[in-house]
Symmetry: C2
Subunit: 381 residues, 2 copies
């Protein structure tokens, strides 16, 4: 019957490489469409509780990924640091791998990612490639700059600010890039989605407020920017996802300069910390949007139902060990705030352990609630 | 440390008797609080996919329930038809059983349930107990009435309308009750919650529109009733949950008569079909509210964020076999509608296979969307 050709009716077997918090929220969204989800990650990863099809293994390992993927129909990721060769070989066997493995490879390497921006006339901060510490010295006039490891940085790790050559001992003696320090007004992120039909959709830009450790402390949605800048940011995110021809979700982090210029900072080809508010604040969450994009379904409505803030629950620096959360009663009594815990049993300094989403009708009340809840809800041991 | 005595920090081991669609939606809500969930139901029940702790067995069987519960801290249900003796014995071993087993027993038997209303001055339709068909004949003057099996009725089964003694062959030759046919204006449901501290909360009344098979076809939230009737309905639901001293969620179905009188029809001590819209339409869903109530957390905010409708996706009468869904594309393109599938692989006539939630700003658009989507989305084989 023609009418029931919707991909949900085919009950595809879906695998996720990675079983952390993004996997958890992907499972939440998968339950609604009754998707068949298998997960590959280290034993006891957060997702292991919430699927009957959990495989303990390394998503960085060729054999582990091949063995995991061989009976699946569609494979996706919740982390970029996966074995690309296995994904390419699974793709050659006829599996759908979304986002596409060659795009994960491009994004895994910040040097190739930067070159992609240049090649496609996507505005980005000026940069220089460096292979070792000696290289940096030859570019002293390029400082102050951020030194970024080509691979494997995350959550503020693998990034070092270099103010002058005196800071070179802090830099990475590995393939990296020096990115010119650009004085920016705000950091914003736009989450874009694109499905197999080339249909695209973008969420409202969100504004990121950073923690001392280069981690997002909280975000505000929508970003407090003009409609004009918001439109430009969404167009830029659409340009990036279209140039990549990516199928799935793409988080596009941008610098907004004082003069309104937007520069693409980094991208991530998966649901992203900058989109967690979408679970409660948007008509369609970034997690459902990811499923829609990779399953060939119509994309969902990204519009905000309410202004929102999202606070990362980060391990307090002086605690390590079995996690305990302070202040949950206060949080749970807030009439329009939401707790999300990631199921990590051990806290460590600055580890991301969960998040809080706050809904309010206007910006001032949001900031007030952020400050109140940040002062009360603490991740300790 | 005094501050982190919140029950979430104790990571209790929680079991659910039943692993159908209510269990699925309880798991969705459990993921956010990272709850440790075990489930007992027949092999391949919908929940079996979404937990690593699924036990195949009968929740009606004493030994199966005892064995399932012996290492758990808290046990709850998503269906009433469970082995009460095992729950009483587990309770005696110090397990928390919420809702309490003696209340599940009371509600399992519609005759005892009705007597409870009388004893507690809770308004309900007049009734007569019958043990066999001969009993009904002696009460011919009480017809027209509904004949209801004392136990094991659900989704319109176990209920038979008797217009006159000519219909007696359709009635049940088992312990049952005859409930006077009350001409009502609307059927509404209020979902109430109550935690260990005796804190209570009620959702806005919803209005139920019935299908020919005595199943809910769709519901509208909030019910189109006066504020005065709405307040009375919430007060009545609060009275019932307080009189029961129930810990958990209680769905209170009511008849609203033309003169504004409210009569309690039936109650269910668990998340309920009449509360499915709360996932997207309310600040706190009935499923999170259930966890909050039984875990001793502060109750969540039941307020509506938006008017909503919920359509049950029911197997078309002429189809049995491997399920297929027609019209999903149209549904998924609706900017503020939501698909929930229950993971039942086989459809049968009138089987509940999923639901759709629709959000709109006002009643007229809701009804329009209900009619459109009901005509397009069909459960076939």
């Amino acid at each position: 019957m023609k009418l029931n050709t919707n991909p949900i009716n085919a009950s595809p077997k879906i695998g996720i490489l990675g079983g952390g918090q993004l996997g958890l929220m992907l499972i939440e969204a998968a339950i609604r469409f009754n998707l068949d989800i298998s997960i590959l990650d280290a034993a006891h990863a957060p997702c292991s509780k919430y699927t009957s099809k959990f495989t303990a293994g390394a998503f960085t390992d060729y054999d582990a990924v091949m063995s995991f993927g061989k009976d699946l129909d569609i494979i996706t990721i919740e982390i970029e640091n996966v074995n690309i060769q296995a994904l390419l070989d699974l793709q050659a066997l006829g599996k759908k791998i979304y986002p596409q493995p060659e795009l994960i490879a491009l994004i895994q390497d910040k040097r190739i990612q930067k070159q992609f921006y240049l090649d496609n006339h996507i505005p980005t901060a000026p940069f220089i490639l460096t292979d070792n510490l000696a290289d940096i010295e030859t570019h002293a006039d390029f400082l102050p700059a951020f030194h970024k490891l080509a691979k494997e940085g995350y959550d503020g790790k693998g990034v070092q600010k270099l103010n002058s050559i005196a800071d070179i001992p802090l830099a990475f003696n590995k393939p990296s890039l020096l990115e010119k320090l650009v004085p920016f007004h705000k950091e914003i992120t736009v989450i874009a989605a694109r499905n197999e039909n080339g249909e695209t959709s973008t969420y409202d830009p969100v504004e990121l407020i950073y923690h001392e450790q280069n981690m997002v402390d909280y975000l505000i949605a929508p970003a407090v920017i003009s409609d004009n800048v918001s439109d430009k940011a969404r167009q830029l995110a659409t340009l990036v996802i279209n140039k990549l021809e990516l199928i799935g979700i793409l988080a596009v982090e941008m610098f907004l300069l004082e003069d309104g210029t937007l520069l693409v900072n980094e991208i991530a080809p998966r649901p992203h910390n900058s989109g967690h508010h979408s679970i409660e604040a948007c008509f369609c969450s970034q997690f459902e949007q990811h499923w829609r994009a990779i399953l060939g379904l119509p994309l969902g409505n990204p519009a905000l139902r309410s202004p929102a803030a999202m606070i990362n629950l980060i391990g307090e620096p002086e605690f390590s060990g079995a996690v305990q959360y302070n202040g949950l009663d206060t949080l749970l009594r807030d009439a329009s705030s939401y707790l999300h815990l990631y199921g990590k049993t051990e806290t460590r300094p600055y580890r991301k352990m969960g998040h809080i989403t706050i809904l309010r009708n206007e910006h001032h009340s949001l900031i007030e609630a952020v400050n109140k809840l940040k002062s009360v809800v603490k991740v300790v041991a």
